[in-house]
Amino acid sequence: MSEEGEPEIVIAVHGLSNSFGEQIIHEGLDLEVKRGEILGVVGGSGTGKSVLMRSIIGLQIPDEGEVEVFGVPVLHAREAELQAVRKRWGILFQGAALFSTLTVAENVQVPLREFYPRLSERLLDEIAAYKIVMVGLDPDAGPKYPAELSGGMRKRAGIARALALDPELLFLDEPTAGLDPIGAAAFDELVVELRDQLGLTVFLITHDLDTLWTICDRVAVLSDRKVVAVGTIPELLALDHEWIQEYFRGPRGRAAEEAVEAEEAREAAAAEGEAER
């Protein structure tokens, strides 16, 4: 991602306010996501991480504020403009949100059929097939229905559908929640690989400290109804914010940090060994 000058802003949120009845979720929230980065979004339960995502993708009409995706103001855009934006993003919902009456392969084909009705059946099947393998599903998962899949497999099928159009922007809502550590690590790896190959921008809501440490370029912290800080984790740690300190410096946070440090040390040692030789 070595582009000249300032990287392009893919998502820009300005002055976003959301409330449900008396309960105010966001108040004057600002956030920018740059092209090609993996942005982690963290925050305590009920701080409105999912609501923020829903506001960006147009499922939640905010009380106030502006949301731009690919430079299109999604709140005021015409339907045709919105369709053009929808072609360029993929979304993985928390519960995967697969269509339960369709098989996994058919689920993957839904966005392709919707946006590119002229693709041949044969190509559709082939695309579904390689996407299924790419996200690490069993080759025989294609004809299965979502009810026949485990939670982790459903998430993978969901990401296969989100990736069907080779989007430029990927929204992931707690992708590793409910996965075993091995599955979660594989998922992290998958996201990084996809980002590196396709130049994806990833908007990632997560509570998984390992995910945050290993794959996120920057982390946005939601607290007190707004984004209180955005930056790399070391930058965040330098801040004097109680919640951030507790979040990353708690026992779980430290364990994840140590794991990353150990990994880096190993890599550095290996690199040194090569250099000596």
């Binding site: 098989t103 294609g142 004809p143």
Partner: protein, 373 residues
């Protein structure tokens, strides 16, 4: 979005050093593929050189098309730059035999299979319903032995939902049904100059049959379905399992109050429906046929025997019982997913109404033979 022509994916064919070369240009990305897939599929011959050096952007679908052509036509890919090479490697790695569609079973076996499964399902449902009935009786017995466990609050709450909230809709429905019977009956009876017998028709059919039957159908639609949906979603959310582990019997806490409330509300609702239906019919007689209300009331009192009311009061709780138990039973059968809740709810209503009508037919024969004409 306007696409500059130079970016549209395309390829040119040429012969260089005795080999056929396909040179790809433009962006090999999904929005710009255009007719490229069709053109590639129509290519004839084998042994191409696929030159991707001049490709602009590429996504996995573009990479797949190049990879597939190379694989099927025995081609060789040249000129892949870094990013493109990675993508091609990636799709090559993902190129595994994947089953996309379920294999359809042969038609004959499928028909037999469906008949068989439907039969098994029907008998399982009947057995299950019977077992559920038994389990309910057992827990009813336990509650009677320990009356402290009688959940009075839950029952009263159900009274409100099943009974009080149904008053409006059942009243309106019965009123209209009364008018319709009166109007239809009057048209037919007028031919014999026996218009006054419309009162008999309204009074007896409302009390004996229509009041209770229409109420049962309405309660099945309102409460039977909601029981199935409530219990079904509680089972999905593992609330029922949680209850068991805490030591609360779901039978006692969920099913009994609903059954008890429906059984006790049904006679009241059915009686109310019959009265409102008679009032509706009376209104029609007054306005449409010119029979004054006083005559209507007197005649109604004369022609409706007490046994008609007994019939209503015997049938109504039985119907309520059937509706409540099918609703609760179907709800407790939910295992898999939210879709099943919908299916089970439908089944609960259909089964409830069906069983009510079957039972009503039995009652009609029975009451006739015991002389309650």
């Amino acid at each position: 979005m306007s696409l500059p022509m130079s970016n549209v994916a395309r390829f040119s064919e040429s012969v260089e050093e005795g080999r056929r070369v396909l040179r790809f240009h433009g962006d090999l990305v999904l929005p710009r593929l255009g007719v490229l897939p069709t053109r590639l599929e129509r290519l004839k011959g084998k042994g191409f050189v696929l030159d991707v050096a001049e490709v602009g952007r590429m996504d996995t679908i573009g990479a797949w098309l190049v990879h597939r052509t190379a694989k099927e036509r025995g081609g060789e890919i040249v000129g892949a730059k870094n990013g493109v090479a990675v993508l091609l490697r990636q799709v090559a790695k993902a190129d595994q035999p994947v089953k996309v569609r379920p294999d359809p079973p042969p038609a004959l076996t499928r028909v037999l299979d469906e008949i068989g499964s439907a039969t098994i399902l029907a008998s399982q449902t009947m057995l299950g319903l019977l077992a559920f009935f038994g389990a309910m009786l057992i827990s009813l017995g336990q509650v009677f032995r320990q009356p402290r466990r009688f959940r009075i609050n839950a029952i009263v709450q159900r009274f409100e939902v099943v009974g009080v909230h149904a008053f409006g809709i059942i009243g309106l429905m019965s009123f209209l049904v009364g008018i319709v019977i009166a109007q239809q009956g009057a048209t037919q009876l007028r031919q014999f100059g026996a218009e006054v017998y419309t009162i008999n028709l309204i009074g007896r059919s409302s009390v004996k049959e229509l009041g209770v039957l229409m109420t049962a159908i309405m309660v099945a639609g309102r409460s039977g379905s909601s029981f199935a949906a409530q219990l079904g979603s509680m089972k999905l959310a593992e609330e029922v399992a949680a209850m068991r582990t805490i030591g609360v019997s779901p039978m006692e806490a969920l099913v009994l109050p609903r059954v008890f409330a429906t059984v006790s509300m049904m006679p009241l609702l059915a009686f109310y429906a019959a009265i409102v239906s008679i009032i509706g019919g009376g209104m029609f007689c007054w306005i449409g046929l010119g029979i004054p209300p006083i005559t209507f009331v007197q005649r109604t009192r004369d022609i409706i025997p007490m046994t008609d009311l007994w019939q209503l009061l015997v049938k109504a709780p039985m119907f309520g019982f059937i509706i409540a138990i099918t609703g609760c039973f179907q709800g407790m059968q939910v295992e898999a997913d939210a879709e099943e809740v919908g299916l089970r709810t439908t089944t609960a209503v259909v089964q409830g109404i069906f069983l009510v009508i079957v039972l009503d037919a039995f009652f009609a024969v029975f009451f006739t033979s015991v002389g309650w004409l």
